[in-house]
């Protein structure tokens, strides 16, 4: 057993782990962060995606041992203190992007990373950026729509509420996301 010290969802964490263990297992089995899903365990489906120092990562392929001192964000860390949804989560609800919901937390984490770049993208660019995730329910249609909408809302030229931008900024800080210049 070793001790992992890192920051998860804005809080300092210390937890024992087996050095052979994946971050996926540590997050799920020891910290009960069950939004992080196991779909294939070999980096094919993307359901276990979390942000590690702002980078969307398959936690099934990432040893807990490597996570010392990192800042990790999971879907549990996205809601604001008052319980309101992050704009990315809200877009997934409003655009009917959710069906069985098993792949959704992972895709939301990639979407947070995409919004965090501060840029806007075409639908084809978004499809490529999200292509590390498999979803079997939606044909991807409404997921692409939701990500397109929230990227446009936060990073686009259209009207965006200050609350939404602030909510996203708070998460970006928590995740150590850095907008590209």
């Amino acid at each position: 057993m070793r001790i992992l010290k890192c920051t998860i969802n804005g809080k300092p964490v210390q937890v024992g782990y087996d050095p052979r263990e994946s971050l996926l297992d540590t997050l799920r089995n020891r910290l009960h962060l069950t939004s992080v899903k196991r779909g294939c365990e070999v980096g094919e489906c993307g359901a276990c995606t979390v942000l590690i120092d702002g980078v969307a990562t398959d936690s099934c392929l990432y040893l807990t041992d490597w996570a010392q001192g990192t800042t990790i964000l999971t879907c549990e860390g996205l809601q604001a203190a008052d319980g309101s949804l992050n704009p990315v989560q809200q877009a997934f609800v409003d655009d009917f992007a959710v069906q069985c919901g098993f792949c959704i937390p992972g895709i939301i984490m990639s979407a947070v990373e995409i919004v965090g770049t501060g840029k806007t993208y075409t639908r084809d660019e978004l499809r490529k950026m999200l292509s590390g995730h498999l979803c079997r329910c939606t044909g991807y249609q409404n997921i692409v729509g939701a990500v397109e909408d929230v990227v446009e809302e936060i990073n686009g030229t259209g009207a965006c509420s200050e609350e939404a931008r602030a909510a996203f900024a708070a998460v970006a800080q928590k995740a150590r996301l850095v907008a590209e210049e």
Binding site: N29, V42, C45, E76, V93, C100, G101, C137, V144
Partner: protein, 780 residues
């Protein structure tokens, strides 16, 4: 159509908030870890038997709690398909018992022969590697035609000739005589008509739900509890009882949110074994999760099938007679058996039977040593409709006819009743297929694109294609259709809704909530649905399959809702005897016959709970036993680019337009159509479980080698509808869930034919098959 109050609204999903916050609990999320883990040892031969198993070294692995082999488990078989059971009075309808918990008879590569329970999965896997097995090996047969010739050792002893079933529906001699024929073949071969014959094949598609198959079991007193990712919790309770030989009431199954099923989880796979292992370790909690690799060959995919088809047709563009003969390879186990290919050949007939004077629908289901198969979304229908549409596409192409006009002249019409179904229960009570087709043709710009793409040359070409579909709703009259719903009034005037029917991602909970609100006369937000099923408390329902729940379970919701409404009004009348009858409930208020307010619903609810003189907990529990059926229809139009040297098909634009009756929630139906289209595009172009015929071993059991469409493989998907008010559905609704996976694949095939003139008959049309086809035709 009459506007309804809650039904028909695009309400947001009741589960969306929990799912985007990661708070929605799936099976493994609830598991009390650390607990014991179980893993299964799979045979490394494709046919034969286990002579002996030496577990002595495996037992010594640190952390191992128990090693159990096929010689330890009960020696009786049980059925595993997600079908209703039958009482002794209808015992002949029961599924066949063809599975044991572990079995020394190895029927396929990877069959389950032993299991390890240990403190963690590492110890399980180490122990599995130390189990020594001695086999007697027999030749493997994967080709169903070969298998039908007989094998020295039948795959299943209960089917000595490897034939699960053979059926044949023929036009009656009387009807044939009306047209001067003695046999269906006479009508097919009538020289006054053109004749065509084709052969089609469809591969094994895998469901690839992103959540694996997982369960955990523990004991409460003498009761065994199984928490499982399943579409069919009540059936699972029965099957665990049968497999373990214990009273069914001693089994409790809990079904949390599930991460997709698409038919895999309409079978019972490892839950009975896990329950038995739990018993062996004194009721301690045991978790059994399949790996992604195991899912491809040790849960049940779509049966591979082949079809021989003939037709005769006239210069007037009317079909005269058709014949389909289908062979389905069920693999090493019967599971869902013959129902699947029966669906293929029946829907082949229904879709274009309008003008025919003769038809033959014949089918065989055959046991081989292939991976076992079972239900997958649309349950045999995509294969039958693929075949029907290959035929229609070829005839139109060969005669220079417009494929859309040809289909419209021959397709199913409102009022169609299947002459072969007992009591004529399978019928198209409504059918807006022509309107659907018109809508789709306009969106794809059918005539314009046909002209535009007509005379292309060179290696890259474009085409547009069309395909229609039919799909029945639920399984009556072939099997029992029953569902139960319970509604209970809360103290605040809101309502608890409890269903045995299961939410599996398709949105069932949301549409049940809308239907309950409609029936009771309250708002969507006033209905609290209990999403998890627990067989100890949940009313009985067979579960999520056959696109049945909105139709069958929805009828139970409506019945229970209307009953509760009547009880609320009767109780209000008792409280206010002077109020002029009849009372009415709307806008959270009780009104009298004059329209005057009597009291609030919340007040009635409080009185119902706490009235000291005559309180009466108001609830309703209603069962719907459904004997009707209704056919949903629709079509897909696709616009493709074909790069012939690369064997690459790009779907540029695609639309499905469907008649699903009245849409209970149009946004949720749209979601279903998107998902079905994505899966059908995969089936059309890339998805196939590849089996080595020499060993029956699956060759591509990973998500890298089994090609599910990614974000980049599907275009924007367009879903549209022409609603109709079905007289048999609780709110005019018909089947939805499975319907959209049927017509996109054959529409893509038709578009490839339009682009290149090359006819493909084998789905999926992988780059390999495409390049071979273009080479054969001298195009590359």
């Amino acid at each position: 159509m009459e506007q309804l109050r809650e039904v028909g609204k695009p309400e947001k999903r009741v589960d969306a908030f929990d799912k985007v916050t990661g708070r929605a609990m799936f099976t493994d999320d609830l598991c009390p870890k650390p607990c014991l883990e179980a893993r299964v040892l799979h045979a490394t031969i494709g046919n034969g038997r286990v002579v002996s198993i030496d577990t002595s070294e495996a037992r010594k692995v640190p952390g191992v709690v128990g090693v159990f082999t096929c010689f330890d488990t009960p020696d009786w078989a049980y059925p595993v398909a997600g079908h209703p059971w039958y009482a002794d009075s209808k015992a002949a309808k029961r599924d066949l018992a063809d599975r044991k918990l572990l079995d020394s008879r190895v029927r396929m590569y990877g069959d389950n022969i032993a299991a390890v329970v240990a403190e963690d999965t590492v110890a399980c896997d180490r122990a599995l590697r130390k189990i020594k097995v001695e086999y007697e090996e027999w030749p493997v047969v994967y080709d169903p035609v070969e298998s039908l010739k007989g094998t020295e050792h039948p795959v299943q002893d209960i089917k000595p000739d490897n034939l699960v079933a053979h059926t044949c529906a023929l036009t009656s001699p009387e009807k044939l005589a009306e047209h001067g024929y003695e046999t269906v073949d006479d009508a097919l071969n009538d020289p006054a008509y053109h004749h065509i014959a084709i052969h089609t094949e469809t591969g094994e598609q895998s469901q690839v739900h992103i959540e694996t198959c997982v369960s955990y079991c523990y004991m409460e007193g003498k009761k065994i509890v199984c928490v499982a990712s399943t579409q069919i919790p009540h059936i699972m309770r029965r099957v665990i009882g049968q497999a373990l030989g214990i009273p069914w009431g001693d089994v409790r199954v809990i079904k949390p949110y599930i991460g997709g099923g698409f038919g895999t989880k309409q079978d019972i796979h490892f839950e009975p074994l896990n329950a038995w292992l739990c018993q062996q370790v004194g009721g301690r909690c045991v978790r059994l999760e399949l790996s992604r690799e195991e899912l491809f060959w040790d849960t049940s995919g779509r049966q591979p099938k082949s079809f021989d088809v003939e037709a005769s047709y006239g210069d007037d563009m009317l079909l005269h007679a058709r014949s389909i003969r289908g062979i389905s390879n069920t693999g090493a186990y019967i599971h869902h058996g013959h129902a699947l290919v029966l669906n293929s050949v029946n829907t082949f007939r229904w879709l274009y039977h309008t003008n025919e004077v003769a038809s033959r629908s014949e089918a065989w289901t055959v046991l081989t040593n292939g991976p076992h198969t079972g239900a997958m979304r649309a349950y045999g229908v995509p294969e039958g409709v693929w075949t029907a549409e290959c035929l229609m596409g070829d005839i139109a192409y060969d005669n220079g006819w417009d494929g859309l006009e040809f289909r419209l002249k021959n397709c199913i019409r409102e009022g169609f009743v299947d002459e072969f179904t007992p009591g004529g229960a399978v019928a198209a009570h409504t059918c807006t297929l022509p309107e659907c087709a018109a809508k789709g043709a306009e969106w794809i710009r059918w005539d314009q694109k046909k002209r535009e793409y007509a005379n292309e040359t060179g290696p890259i070409r474009h085409g547009v294609g069309v395909a229609f579909f039919v799909y029945k709703t639920a399984v009556a009259p072939f099997a029992l259709e029953t569902a139960t719903a319970r509604v209970t009034l809360n103290q605040d005037g809101s309502v608890q809704l409890q269903m045995g029917a299961t939410e599996i991602g398709q949105g069932a909970d949301t549409v049940f909530t809308q239907m309950a609100a409609e029936a009771i006369g309250i708002d969507f937000a006033d209905v609290h649905i209990v999403s998890f099923q627990d067989t100890d408390v949940t009313p009985y329902d067979a579960g999520a399959y056959a696109s049945r729940q909105t139709y069958v379970s929805g009828t139970a919701v409506k019945k229970a809702g209307e009953e509760l409404r009547a009880k609320i009004l009767a109780f209000a009348q008792r409280l206010f005897p002077e109020a002029p009858a009849p009372l009415d409930l709307r806008d959270h208020m009780i009104f009298d016959a004059t329209g005057a307010e009597v009291t609030t619903l919340a007040n009635v609810a409080l009185e119902a709970f706490y009235n000291t003189e005559e309180n009466d907990a108001l609830s309703a529990y209603a069962t719907a036993n459904i004997h009707t059926n209704t056919i949903a229809t629709g079509c897909t139009f696709a616009d493709v680019t074909v790069d012939m040297p690369l064997g690459q098909v790009t779907v540029n634009r695609i639309i499905s337009v469907q008649d699903n009756g009245r849409l209970i929630n149009p946004k949720l139906v749209e979601q279903q159509v998107h998902g079905g289209m994505g899966q059908s595009i995969g089936f059309a172009l890339s998805e196939e479980v590849l089996v080595d015929p020499k060993t029956s071993r699956v060759l591509n059991d990973t998500l890298l080698d089994y090609k599910v469409p990614t974000f980049m493989d599907v275009p924007d998907l367009k879903a549209d509808f022409v609603e109709s008010d079905d007289p048999t559905g609780p709110y005019g609704n018909k089947a939805v869930g499975e319907t959209p996976i049927i017509s996109p694949a054959p529409a893509i095939r038709d578009a490839i034919l339009d682009a290149t003139g090359v006819k493909f008959y084998h789905m999926p049309m992988t780059p390999q098959r495409l390049v071979e086809g273009f080479k054969r035709e001298g195009l590359i």
